[in-house]
Amino acid sequence: MRSLDTEVLVIGSGAGGAVTAATLAEAGRTVTVVEEGPWVDPDAIEPFSLDEMVVKYRYGGPAAALGTPSVGYAEGRCVGGSTEINSGLYHRLPGDLAEEWRRTYDIDEFTPDVLDHYAGGIESLLTVSKVPGAPPASSAVIERGATKLGWRSVEFARVFAYDEQGRGTKQTMARTMIPRAVAAGATVVPDCRVVRLLRQGPRVVGARCRRTTPEGATERLDIRADHVFVCCGAIHTPALLQRSGWWSRIGGGLKLHPTVKVAARFPSPLDHGDVPMHRVTEFAPKLTIGGSASRRGQVAMALAESSAEYEDALAEWEHVAVYYAAIRSDSAGRVLTLPRASAPLVTYRLTDADLSRLARGLVNLGELLLAAGATELYPSISQSGVARRQEDLVAWWDGLTRSRANLMTVHLTSSVRMGQEGALSGADSFGRVWGAQHLRVNDASLIPDAPGVNPQAAIMMIAARNAEHFLATA
């Protein structure tokens, strides 16, 4: 067994952990970051490829929140976490939503002004920008359809830096905050799974880990720390807390954005090297319409979801792109650690209202794509067939049932909510876990509810705020 001492241990290196590590290391604290997954050169693997799925995704790809219907989800598991595999869309937390959460959960120092201050800091570090020049064809589809229907749409900024030729590079944590942390003296330990937190009564004193060496052997590693930040994301943060003995209001209240998809075929080819950056905001925040990665593999999977014959469309896959409708859900899920299992059980119970909203979103998405010139639509409803005209969309209202809906999500939040309202939260306004000492959560788990947009910006601004609070108080 090996052991290691540090002042601050940060568990997880995604949007929350990387910001925490960089902020604390640059303030002169001794920081160690442990990451369960590998440290991969961000330029070594093509985005959204099979290799990326194998190397950077937890479970090598698919996982599911069980329910009726189940909701498939994906998470990153590498240095940089899910920022390495997402689309890089950046959206500040809407002020009215922050204000609503501040009141409901009694969150200190959570006014729009405070959050904007931290968002500004993050944006200046990450290069948040819009695509130079005209948007790619797959993104223009959304704008064109929305314009024809009289709906609002916007081009979202992304955490991308562009060179003089207009080539974009996603500013993932492995490219930005992790190097900053390392430059300031932080140590990063990849391939290191935290089995449980070490504690003396309510005080956390470190973590017991299982590290995989470069030679492939595994060894036990105990890390002693004065302070521990758990930043493993909305599934694995509550799972680790439960494994370590904290259960009260931990893991319940999981939120996600249930999402339905449509593979849309067009008369002419689309681009497939980028993710559409336009979004329909006409129905936000309850419903958002946008586009997904559409490499050949993703197109094939999306085409097959409808159970219709798809070989002809797949043969012309360059003409097909994948779009989605995502809702803010009324319902909530749960993360539950199972004895002797490394993966927690995740459940999610969709309400009838959620299902109805998803059906509406799917029909809206179909209308948009037809208005933009699509000739064939393959929805993620089993046994649904292909829609070619407006009249065909009527069947989607009744078709999206619990047994036929094929849902997924990539946004998971709210499993250890923050706030001073102890009955509703697992941690206080700054991420300190109720009933524990020297233990903080600082990731998507803290976000009190689903934001209705990509949560990366909210995660980062909350993480920066909490890290500064730590520096001022600990």
Binding site: P62, A63, R295, A300, A341, L345, N406
Partner: protein, 100 residues
Amino acid sequence: MLGFEQRVVAGLVTTTDPERRAAVEAFVDGTLRSMPEHLRAGMAAESLLLGAWDRVRGRGRAGPVDLAALDGSRIDVVRQYVRLLRGLVLFAECELAPTT
């Protein structure tokens, strides 16, 4: 992969190139091994039941699986079972396809 899973995957793979078939099967096998334990256990149980049902129907332990029957099953988890395997096979086949 369990025997019935191998037969389903073999029925879903469309390429005739033995190397690509092997690569697709290896990808699916690796993904199933990496799944959360409870999901893998549920899937394995389903594979055993479906395999037993297939034998009862006289199809033996080898040979093609009736994918249309699984796709059209009235039982949700059976359809989801094929959906998952089909998704993995399709993704791997497309991503492993030679660049044209």
